[in-house]
Symmetry: C2
Subunit: 178 residues, 2 copies
DNA sequence: ATTTAATTAGTCATATTTGACTATTCATAG
DNA sequence: CTATGAATAGTCAAATATGACTAATTAAAT
């Protein structure tokens, strides 16, 4: 089980919903905190149903095609509580694909590395601006914290990249004449 | 293709190796930058072989069982170069499981949230100490940067958690009397 | 010399994830 | 009314990822 189950259970705790509704909400509002795909969400819902964490019922409204409506069970409530405490208390391992790339910068000329990192910083600034443009008032504290958390990491990356560039330049000049 | 292919190609650029050697190196030295599992590495190697990025040959040394030795091809060299530039220049989306959990802190009493975040900070400090204990001198610049990059994010998280706790406490008190 | 444990070198069945696809209904423009 | 496109609501085959397993060799202890 991972944080995506926590997300799905949390959404179903707010209200019983069908899969499409859940996926719309995630893709429209939560793309900043998860990259879970639609088919994955359906798979996880089916999995949790098998494990008794949610119930599935069929609803028919007007002429619309049938929909599967999911509701959280009491076992699901208990699982939600456990997962929530777990993900609050336990720092997961973080890894960045950048770090793999950094290990191999020796394979490129220094000038090119600097150019590539400049390009990265440009794109990062765009990401940051997107986050900063997000309206902060209409969300509850937890959601605001989540967005600010990601934003603080993006800003760190930006200033970290600047100092990394300086170290790379310095090492190159000291290596070539020292 | 993702950064794990870059890692495997980069290791094979240094020298041709068999799978076991690659996996040993990753699990002993690179657990900080990737969580790729052994069977996954073998699958990716087979995949890259099919795509002509690496060659596979059988080697027999003494009585030891046969080993598959992988070498990078010129197509692999080209792919490495492309991947390296891509992962240097393109900031990937970062997501933290903590952020999902933060969205739902309203489901717990404030005091418990604070306790859980305190526990998190304790564990985070242990992680940071592990990283700080890592010897810095024996690595090249890129590897040192990779470790320092992760470390800087961990340190940010620590101070961010402190300020998040303060916001949570403040919101609780202003909500209960204002 | 022989059980025991550790290391070496992978394989495979199962579980997970997703891109691509199907199929219905609704809106709206002509 | 009716072709066109968008929204709704999923499904499924194929690709990925991994825990559990096999099987040989070497090292250590008895």
């Amino acid at each position: 089980m991972d944080e995506r189950e926590l997300l799905l259970l949390g959404l179903l705790k707010i209200q019983s919903q069908h899969g499409y509704q859940i996926n719309e909400f995630i893709s429209k509002n939560l793309s900043r905190v998860t990259s879970m795909k639609k088919a994955t969400a359906y798979a996880l819902l089916e999995n949790m149903r098998k494990n008794g964490l949610i119930d599935e019922s069929i609803s028919q409204e007007g002429n619309r095609p049938q929909r599967k409506v999911y509701s959280i069970t009491s076992a699901g409530d208990a699982a939600f509580d456990t997962l929530l405490k777990t993900y609050l208390a336990q720092p997961g391992q973080i890894t960045f694909s950048l770090d793999i790339a950094l290990m191999f910068i020796g394979n490129l000329p220094v000038a090119e590395v600097i150019n590539l990192l400049d390009e990265r910083m440009k794109l990062l600034i765009e990401q940051i601006e997107t986050y900063e443009r997000a309206p902060k008032h209409e969300y509850d504290l937890g959601s605001r914290l989540a967005v600010e958390h990601v934003l603080s990491h993006l800003q760190l990356d930006l200033s970290w990249l600047q100092s990394a560039k300086e170290m790379i330049v310095q090492e190159a000049s000291s290596g070539s004449n020292g």
